[in-house]
């Protein structure tokens, strides 16, 4: 059921109410998505003059190109690194903050601040700290024997992108873990304490298992975040380099579409990505459905 039992009776008004949203959705969401589907079946020259139907050739071309396969791998490695590191750190911090009483709010205030910081700004700040020319951290690393240069060393670049994205993302994970922990009844944890469980044991045996729905939800949200919202971080920090070490799928769509002007290839990549998003969101809906009352 989508609506209420008691309703207003009016024939034209509901259409009027929905029209702004439906028009914008059709214009800026459905139409471009259909365009991407169509474009993915054509090859167009860079000036948009000629257009040849090539069927699934763009997909074959993309999937048989080693660099594109590498972009898929990079995207997943990136998402996996950001998701696991932020979830582990956020879980640890929220476990610590959950039990400190009033001061928890002070810690929370500081830890959630990066949520407000733009991914691009996070990119700029870490770029500054690790810049081989001026960066304090790049300088400091010399004393432990690391000659930091993310413009040359692929491993450094990948690490830096993960670091900047994770720094920004811990806030989100922290909030959900903290909220999850606060909804666990005190009585459960107390009874474990009476039975002699240590603070660590209480978390390990009771709190963590009860948080598994939150963990699943966060895993999906972190993957979506890393896939789609970290473009500014990559664009600012590494431009996909060095030697494509940080070129993710979204970055490739941008580069092939707007720098390479390969609209067909870029559209095919968009469609591949869209299929991925739709399956992830479907997975998420199945989870959300259990909590949502229609």
């Amino acid at each position: 059921m989508l609506g209420k039992r008691v309703i207003f009776k009016n024939k034209g008004l509901p259409y009027l109410l929905l029209s702004p949203e439906v028009i914008l959705v059709l214009l800026f969401f459905i139409f471009p998505a259909v365009q991407a589907l169509l474009q993915s079946l054509y090859r167009e020259d860079a000036f948009g003059i000629t257009r040849v139907f090539v069927g699934l050739d763009n997909f074959r071309r993309a999937l048989s190109e080693p660099l594109y396969v590498r972009a898929i791998r990079t995207s997943f490695a990136f998402a996996f690194s950001v998701a696991t590191s932020t979830m582990i750190i956020a879980l640890f911090l929220s476990a610590l903050a959950n039990n400190v009483g009033k001061r928890a709010m002070t810690y929370r205030t500081v830890i959630i601040a990066p949520y407000a910081v733009a991914p691009l700004v996070a990119g700029v700040m870490w770029f500054f700290l690790f810049s081989p020319a001026v960066g304090v951290l790049a300088y400091g690393l010399r004393f432990v024997g690391v000659r930091w240069n993310h413009t040359i060393v692929p491993g450094h670049a990948f690490f830096l992108v993960v670091l900047a994205a994770s720094w920004q993302r811990i806030a989100y994970n922290f909030l959900f873990y903290l909220a999850g922990m606060q909804s666990i009844p005190d009585s459960l944890v107390e009874s474990a304490a009476i039975h002699g469980a240590s603070p660590g044991g209480r978390y390990w045996r009771i709190t963590f298992p009860l948080l598994s729905p939150t963990t699943f939800f966060l895993l999906i949200m972190n993957f979506i975040y890393t896939f789609f919202e970290t473009f500014p971080v990559i664009h600012q920090l590494t431009q996909g380099g060095p030697s494509n070490a940080t070129a993710t799928m979204v970055y490739r769509i941008y580069r092939d579409g707007f720098r390479g002007l390969d609209f067909g290839g870029s559209a095919a990549q968009s469609v591949i990505l869209m299929a991925f998003v739709i399956s992830v969101v479907a997975l998420q809906f199945r989870y959300v459905e259990r909590k949502v009352v229609y």
Binding site: I7, P14, L18, E21, N99, V100, A113, M125, I253
Partner: protein, 285 residues
């Protein structure tokens, strides 16, 4: 709550303080750099305490600008602040109004095509701007809306999140309230204005925070939709100013603009922390 032994308490606070320091460190160093002279930033290592150039750097950042690509002078950040604000407020206001109207229509009326409309909106949730970026760009370009505020705002002006949140909220409103309004002779729009909107203050406040942050922090779309400097947002200006070799950048000015770019959203998120956290982690209430 269970009292901790002292050792556990020390452990807790040590790591929490450490975590907070890691979070604050980049912001602090950015602020420090924004108060130094350029040659101080190039010292090895750079000073760790704020310098004396705060007023001069921020004045230059806001009204004069630093060196941009190829040494050309970029515009002052005041214009960028204005553009970021117009874009963020435009996106926030249109998302909230459009979503309020459509979820009102979906929840309180019956009409053919209602489920289709609802699922159509939810489907948009599946299409982040990144996957439809090339056709959207071509469309906006054909409409002649590149380098304009409508072009910046319209493609981002609908929100499945907001529609979904308002619908969830409207579903919890008791039927008696609608009946009472009808008995008193209130039409649907009167009910919407005088009862529904005042009641929906909490979800509206939550969405103001979330969507303002979203709009202010946008990057990929304004990067493509603005080529003229006078439409640059803070994010675009920053990235354009850094599109130069990093030993040539005007770091003191760039760092001042970086601080200017994050202060508004940090203030909004922290000052409305309660509504924001509740709305984000508990969307069913």
């Amino acid at each position: 709550m269970i009292a901790d032994p002292v050792r556990t308490r020390v452990f807790r606070h040590t790591f929490l303080v450490l975590g907070c320091l890691v979070v604050v460190f980049p912001i602090y160093m950015t602020f420090v750099a924004s108060t130094l002279r350029l040659e101080q930033i190039f010292q090895r290592p750079m000073p760790f305490l704020p310098g004396r150039e705060f007023l001069r750097n921020y004045y230059q950042a806001l009204f004069v600008g630093g060196r941009g690509l190829g040494g050309a002078r970029a515009i002052g950040a005041l214009v960028m602040v204005q553009n970021s604000a117009i874009m963020a407020v435009g996106i926030t206001v249109s998302k909230i109004i459009i979503s309020l109207l459509s979820s009102f229509g979906i929840v309180f009326f019956r009409f053919p095509g209602r489920p289709i409309a609802f699922w159509l909106v939810l489907f948009t949730l599946m299409l982040p701007v990144e996957v439809r970026i090339v056709p959207t760009y071509q469309l906006v370009s054909n409409m002649g809306l590149l380098n304009s505020y409508p072009g910046l705002i319209l493609p981002l002006a609908v929100s499945a999140t907001a529609t979904f949140l308002f619908r969830q909220y409207f579903m919890t409103i008791p039927d008696e309230l609608i009946e009472a309004a009808k008995v008193d002779g209130a039409g649907p729009m009167r009910f919407f204005r005088s009862i529904l909107i005042p009641m929906a203050r909490t979800p509206i406040a939550t969405l103001v925070v979330i969507q303002f942050v979203y709009g202010w922090n946008q990057y990929l779309w304004p990067l493509l939709a603005t080529t003229e400097r006078r439409f640059w947002t803070l994010m675009i200006g920053l990235s354009r100013m850094l599109a130069t070799a990093d030993h040539q950048a005007d770091w003191h000015i760039v760092m001042a603009i970086t601080i200017i770019a994050m202060v508004p959203t940090i203030i909004i998120v922290l000052s409305m922390q309660k509504q924001f956290v509740k709305g984000l982690t508990d969307p069913e209430k």
